[in-house]
Symmetry: C2
Subunit: 205 residues, 2 copies
């Protein structure tokens, strides 16, 4: 029964990724070894190494999984828009971060911050992280290009640079949520909408 | 000569902080011990421990120094503004990050990312980081309040939430500069100005 076998393989793989998220989030990458992940997973060393041969492999799998969910959600939203509003694009991405952060077994956005730190000293992780955020930014760039075509942003602005500023609003939410924790996603999204709407119409004083 | 002695003490302290920045940036917090910092500083263990008794102390000193420079620069800018523009406030903070990043002996923004990761597993560092970003955000909040008073932002928006979005634009620049490195500060500042200006005036189609 190859179908059942494939499901079994996927479940095992997910079980190991979950264990890695728990340990990396709790202790960081440097202080976590394959032995810790194996212990957390409840599987044998041989079973774990059949799927992942190194911590770098695990990091790549975590990033792929978390990124895959967020990107799929954003892609669905973008496909539904006739003329995407930049503030709505950011607010949608922020909601996706808040949604991902609520996933079991442990908030994977904590692992994202560990991955940023590890990327600055580990070229293999740097490549994974650079690829992941390059991908997210390309979706935001697409939203910016379409907003420009719809007259929602000036057509002579550089969409790549615009997407960098939009990505900042998403990553900054992820980070402040973990470090300061005092602005819920809906309130943050409201502030982004206000900030990106430009100055209000002048009133008689 | 107490004045010379105070200068000597400050120079010694700075020498140790520089050494800690080099080692933390290169290897992260977890893989760096006091012995590494002592070796890098060229001072004796006794001399170093006279100033700093733990890695947490060193992290606090690094954050205080880097934050002190950036906050002083922002405060000078804010004092000169009659009606601060939110986009200019962000662009000014971004320029300060780019300026701090160019400081010897090693880009201290790399240590900021290590501090974020460490804060998620070390309560002492969490307190330092939370205090530091709370301080930066209070300056951005002041800029938002004054922009609201000048009619540059709606008066009914929450300035605290606005400051969170503004801080994201600064932290996101810091992070993307390190991980993607493809949008220089002036271009990023230009994109922030465009994004925060709101939709362009409609033209006849």
């Amino acid at each position: 029964m190859p179908r059942v076998s494939a499901e079994h393989l996927t479940a095992r793989r997910d079980q190991i990724i979950d264990a890695a998220i728990v340990r990396f989030a709790a202790n960081g990458f440097q202080a976590t070894g394959m032995a810790d992940v194996i212990a957390e997973s409840g599987l044998s060393a041989g079973a774990v190494y059949r799927y992942f041969t190194s911590k770098d492999d695990l990091i790549r799998a975590i990033v792929d999984r978390v990124l895959g969910r967020a990107v799929a959600g954003f892609d669905r939203w973008l496909a539904e828009q006739d003329d995407p509003d930049p503030a709505e694009a950011v607010a949608t991405a922020v909601d996706l971060v808040a949604d991902v952060a609520g996933r079991a077994p442990v908030d994977p956005t904590r692992v994202a911050v560990q991955a940023w730190a590890e990327a600055l000293r580990n070229p293999a992780v740097y490549d994974v992280v650079q690829g992941a955020y390059g991908t997210i930014r390309s979706y935001l760039r697409e939203a910016a290009v379409r907003a420009q075509a719809a007259g929602r942003l000036p057509r002579d602005a550089d969409p790549h640079e615009l997407s960098a500023a939009m990505l900042s609003l998403v990553l900054g939410f992820l980070l402040q949520r973990l470090l300061l924790g005092d602005v819920p996603a809906p309130d943050y999204g409201a502030a982004v909408r206000v900030l990106l709407a430009g100055p209000p119409p002048a009133t008689a004083s």
